[in-house]
């Protein structure tokens, strides 16, 4: 069993969902974001999505865009994120790490070289936002050679037939997008999310993690009942983008992660 499988298996055994936290690497600067990820792990995150900023994040909402813009201004690069990931994975051998970015940043590094390096430093997989099923080969092949998971997305627009096709080839886990649209917190998730997740889980050979739109412990709890994993990004980043001292903002973000972690259990 590999690390990602172990994480989902041990969460399932404890009757809870895995908590996946998306971090905008390099926001507000590289050192602080490393500390923020440390906080998230300490607060109960099972898997960290290492968001590598891209200048043109066409699938992202305001929070991640704003964080990415600051990160890039502060000089964040894929190389820098890889160096940070190596340190983090050494310190946290049981935490899952998924590199999360847009194709151009990865292509520019070289896909073969990137996969080899990720394997070496202990990152478990890649999620490329703008790489749908039809284009996956160029990244799926080097991922397979390096023993990395290529995490696919399914969305509310994806038919169940298409979802079955996508999930049929997935390893690690599948990321199900809760809403039609870009990343970001929503006041309310659409009521059909639970039914949809149940239908996906029935057809998926790997765990299904659900994300987009999750605002707080309450909405996370509702998703945790029906999904194998819950992904939260913008809600945490919003805490960090708020005005005030960085120390305070970091503490608020960390508290939110703790609340989210407490909402993963399916008991009571």
């Amino acid at each position: 069993m590999d690390k990602i499988q172990k994480i989902f298996a041990s969460c399932a055994a404890a009757d809870r969902a895995a908590l996946v936290i998306f971090c905008s690497c390099g926001y507000p600067d590289m050192d602080s974001s490393e500390q923020i990820i440390e906080d998230a792990i300490a607060a109960g995150a099972d898997i960290i999505e290492l968001g590598v900023p891209f200048s043109d994040p066409m699938a992202d909402g305001a929070a991640i865009r704003q964080a990415s813009e600051v990160a890039l201004r502060q000089g964040a690069t894929l190389k820098g994120v890889l160096a940070m990931a190596e340190r983090l994975s050494k310190r946290h051998p049981d935490t899952g790490f998924i590199l999360f970015s847009y194709m151009n940043v990865m292509l520019n590094y070289g896909l073969d070289a990137l996969c080899t390096e990720l394997r070496r430093i202990g990152v478990d997989g890649i999620l490329a936002v703008d790489l749908p099923y039809e284009e996956r080969a160029e990244l799926a092949d080097p991922c397979r050679s390096a023993g990395l998971h290529l995490i696919p997305l399914v969305s509310p627009m994806t038919s169940l037939e298409r979802a079955a096709m996508i999930m049929g080839e997935a390893t690690g886990f599948v990321y199900s997008v809760n809403i039609c649209g870009i990343t970001g917190v929503r006041e309310k998730l659409p009521p059909e999310v639970a039914e949809r997740l149940a239908a996906l889980k029935e057809r998926s050979p790997v765990p299904v993690a659900a994300g987009f739109g999750i605002a707080d412990g309450e909405s996370a709890k509702a998703i945790a009942r029906v999904a194998d994993g819950v992904v939260v990004g913008s809600a945490v980043i919003n805490k960090l983008l708020a005005p005030g001292e960085l120390e305070t903002r970091r503490r608020d973000a960390s508290e939110l992660v703790r609340t989210l972690a407490g909402s993963m259990s399916r008991h009571a």
């Binding site: 066409m58 151009n104 940043v105 284009e135 627009m157 994806t158 996508i166 039609c180 649209g181």
Partner: protein, 395 residues
């Protein structure tokens, strides 16, 4: 169905957009074979746009230069003043066929925005146009035109606040609202099937130009020249001549302040392969794969990528891509106005400048067709500002 041009093109979008792209492809392929769709398209091009557009021999200009005979394909005479309307009529008909009620578009110079707002009014669609705030400033007249036509202009202030940022925002909107919204992309870029369908809708330019050249001169041109930002007017005119291997095809990219300065928008000349806005293409990017800000005196060429088929034509050497800088384009703009009484768009002035630069060394038998893709009324402010800066930096 072929979705790539060699290694270029494809569908690099979030999964949420894939089902709608599949639906669009299916509908478009059906429309392409549907005589009633084609008839409605052709009829609107004739009676609403005013096609065909003339192929005009620029005699005074050619004689002054003393070399190649320069012919202008007068897309500037189309309704709304540029080639963009050919494509928006086609896409609006597709939107109607698919039962959509709302059109969105991105725009740089504003010409595609105006052309989209125009067809939205013509067919009764709701319309929102995304436009960078930098472009809103330099193309104020076109903003008013869009508003007059009933469209809402949505300012985009992120990034460089130009065309690429407007396209990011349009894609985000479409990701959320694709159920009732049709995204009218203005150029031969974006995910498949856009490069294909935009080329098809614009290929009327090349079909006409080829026939007109044969009628007027008894032969094909030696060279066809067009400016390339995203590359829709170029693809449209090249389409008529791709099979004529003796006809040289030349795309002219925006050299801005000069390629050496790094302040330009010449993706093929100065870029590397990457992925942006749904397709693999030549891109202006830094060492870390971040998209660079582009620079051109013409808002319509201010884009860091280029249509995937142009990349393919460049690699296969079927077409050649060259650059013209801001100053040379502005000079060509003035020269055409004075010698022919035609004020060209700054975008088209790039193509024209290349023809002006190369004509004198060529024989008088040589025929060059330049795609005059739009008219220049919208550029008066840009020209005035450019001249002012020139005077200031000369002091």
């Amino acid at each position: 169905m072929k979705t790539h041009y060699g290694i270029y093109g494809g569908q690099y979008v979030a999964e949420t957009l894939m089902p709608i792209l599949h639906e669009l492809e299916k509908e478009y392929l059906a429309a392409r074979e549907d005589p009633s769709f084609q008839e409605e398209f052709r009829s609107l091009l004739k009676n609403y746009v005013g096609r065909e557009s003339p192929l005009y021999y620029a005699r005074r200009l050619s004689e002054h230069l003393g070399g190649s005979r320069i012919y202008l394909k007068r897309e500037d005479l189309n309704h709304t003043g540029a080639h963009k309307i050919n494509n928006t009529i086609g896409q609006a008909l597709l939107a109607k066929r698919m039962g959509k009620t709302r059109l969105i578009a991105e725009t740089g110079a504003g010409m595609h925005g105006v052309a989209t707002a125009t067809v939205a009014a013509l067919f009764g669609f709701e319309c929102e146009v995304f436009m960078g705030t930098t472009d809103i400033d330099r193309q104020a007249v076109n903003v008013e035109r869009m508003q007059t036509l009933g469209a809402t202009v949505r300012p985009v202030s992120e990034g460089s606040a130009t065309l690429k940022d407007a396209m990011n925002e349009a894609l985000r909107d479409w990701t959320a609202w694709s159920a009732d919204t049709f995204y009218v992309i203005g150029t031969v870029a974006g995910p498949h099937p856009y490069p294909l369908l935009v080329k098809d809708f614009q290929s009327v330019i090349g079909e006409e130009a080829r026939r007109q050249c044969l009628e007027q001169t008894g032969r094909l041109p030696d060279e066809v020249v067009a400016c390339v930002g995203g590359g829709s007017n170029a693809m449209g005119i090249f389409a008529g001549f791709l099979e004529d291997s003796d006809v040289a095809l030349t795309g002219v990219e925006a050299g801005g302040a000069g390629i050496a300065t790094g302040k330009h928008a010449a993706s093929i000349t100065g870029g590397r392969v990457g992925v942006l806005h749904g397709s693999k293409t030549y891109l202006l990017q830094d060492d870390n794969g971040q998209i660079l800000e582009t620079h051109s005196v013409s808002a319509g060429l201010d884009y860091p990528g280029v249509g995937p088929e142009h990349c393919f034509l460049a690699d296969s050497r079927r077409a050649r891509y060259v650059t013209v800088d801001d100053e040379e384009a502005v000079d060509a703009f003035a020269m055409l106005a004075r010698f022919e009484g035609i004020i060209p768009a700054l975008e088209s002035s790039h193509a024209l400048a290349y023809a002006i630069r190369t004509a004198p060394a060529q024989s008088r038998d040589r025929i060059v067709v330049v795609n005059l893709s739009g008219r220049g009324d919208k550029d008066m402010d840009s020209i005035r500002r450019f001249r002012k800066q020139q005077v200031a930096s000369a002091k």
